[in-house]
């Protein structure tokens, strides 16, 4: 299995633990992730709300790079996944829109052809690698570790565009957590948004939304697992915004998978997590 790896701005510049663990876990599972030369920002979820044509063109340029590589795209950010998936779908289905966007792209020398698919990393694990294979690779499983999954929004929504799991009852993260031997717990508000996009508008709203979930998860679990850089940053940083830091470890899902697969704390970049997550290591079978 081989994919064009679209890492995205925030993971590239701020979350080495996510990227490192995603690459190492892929390697363990025999999945080759190839970097995309010349790729850039996906366009951001904001751009779509300001100017659809610009958003489509920025995303289409990145998709065209993967098309030239002849590879489907794997992403690790919910926002990038949404932008690239929606653009891919819209331009495949609407030839007039495709022609219009390709006209915008003319000077770049790139053209959207509609020959590849876009998948989030967790979706790739479920649909292409298979949960059984992930479970079989977990040679150092967790024991008596409770984890609260946080899906975020754009992995699943809008559901008529993303065409993945039911946003009211998603499964993939829970299944992946269970594949590591850990218990995936249910908790109130599991599918609620992190409000990360409001951080730059009214910061306090985001910290409040974040703390509400952190405090809930703390009642039910030892750690939280995410699959989106913005959700991760919200739930980690909000804890440092109060005097009573709840110290709930937040991990990127490939970090959890990687540890269970026998990777070291360093190999999954665990020291880059700002809330100390080393307690997880004590919950692994020797």
């Amino acid at each position: 299995m081989k994919y064009a790896f679209f890492v995205g701005c925030t993971v590239l510049s701020r979350l080495p633990g996510y990227e490192k663990s995603a690459r190492k876990v892929a390697e363990k599972l025999g999945v080759e992730l190839v970097d995309m030369p010349g790729s850039s920002c996906c366009g951001t979820t904001y751009m779509e709300t300001l100017d659809r044509k610009t958003a489509l063109a920025l995303a289409a340029r990145n998709i065209a790079i993967a098309e030239e590589m002849g590879l489907d795209i794997v992403t690790v950010c919910n926002g990038c996944t949404e932008n690239l998936t929606k653009t891919n779908k819209a331009l495949k289905e609407d030839p007039a829109l495709r022609a219009e966007v390709n006209e915008i792209l003319r000077e770049t020398g790139k053209q959207f052809k509609g020959t590849v698919e876009v998948k989030h990393y967790v979706r790739m694990l479920k649909e292409d690698v298979g949960l059984d294979k992930v479970k079989a690779a977990s040679v150092k499983p967790f024991k008596e570790l409770k984890v609260g999954a946080h899906y975020g929004c754009h992995l699943l929504k809008p559901s008529d565009e993303m065409l993945f799991e039911d946003p009211n009852d998603p499964k993939v993260l829970d299944d992946l957590i269970r594949a590591t031997g850990a218990e995936s717990v249910d908790y109130p508000g599991k599918t609620e948004c992190c409000a990360g996009p409001v951080m730059g508008i009214r910061e306090k709203v985001t910290w409040n939304v974040g703390m509400d979930k952190v405090q809930t998860v703390k009642k039910y679990a030892d750690a939280m697992a995410t699959c989106c850089p913005f959700c991760y940053i919200t739930y980690e940083r909000c804890q440092f915004m109060t005097e009573t830091n709840p110290n709930l470890p937040v991990v990127h899902i490939p970090q959890l998978l990687g540890l269970a697969m026998g990777l070291t704390a360093d190999e999954v970049g665990l020291s880059t997590n700002k809330v100390d997550a080393s307690a997880l290591l004590a919950k692994q079978e020797a």
Binding site: K20, G38, T44, M47, D51, I104, A195, G196
Partner: protein
């Protein structure tokens, strides 16, 4: 308490039509004000003045100033909960997008969003990923970030004219 009267003017109707002419916002008039959008909105739970139902109502009545002044339309987290739950498929999230586009036309854009939009053609990313960042990546055992073809991105934004509209060039 006296309620302020809302009258729809011709100008208001025109504004409403402009909202509805925007991609995804055409079902505005199907809203019957049930409030499902608001009951599960993560922002509405914490920000009293942010009410998706009220945004739809104000749009129906063409209340341009009340919608576009301040940071109201920039407070949407874009989570699509209202999009998923609306029994009428009004998609308030798309109404908000339409309002942002109309705000932009009036020269109104939140400074944070403006900074993101102007940074992308400059650095290719939403923040600079240059020599320093790549040294940090190397320390973490990661390959250099792809060098984004900024000339190509500049060509795109020049063609769509978005930078001029956000006041970035």
């Amino acid at each position: 308490m006296a309620q302020s009267e809302i009258r729809i003017t011709n100008e208001g109707k025109e504004f409403r039509n402009e909202v509805m002419a925007t991609h995804g916002a055409d079902k505005l008039m199907h809203c019957y004000q049930c409030g499902t959008c608001t009951s599960d909105c993560p922002v509405a739970k914490r920000v009293p003045e942010f009410r998706p139902r009220n945004i739809a109502r104000l749009a129906i009545y063409g209340q341009k100033d009340r919608l576009l002044d301040g940071d109201l339309v920039w407070l949407c987290a874009g989570c699509y909960t209202c999009y998923e739950r609306c029994p009428q498929k009004v998609h308030v999230s798309e109404i908000v997008s339409a309002l942002r586009q109309l705000a932009l036309r009036e020269g109104k854009i939140h400074p944070t969003i403006k900074s993101i939009v102007t940074t992308i053609p400059k650095h290719g990313y939403i923040s600079e990923i240059g020599e320093f960042e790549n040294e940090m990546r190397a320390d973490d055992g990661l390959p250099p970030a792809p060098t984004p073809a900024t000339e190509e991105i500049k060509a795109i934004v020049k063609k769509t004219g978005i930078l001029g509209r956000v006041g970035g060039a």
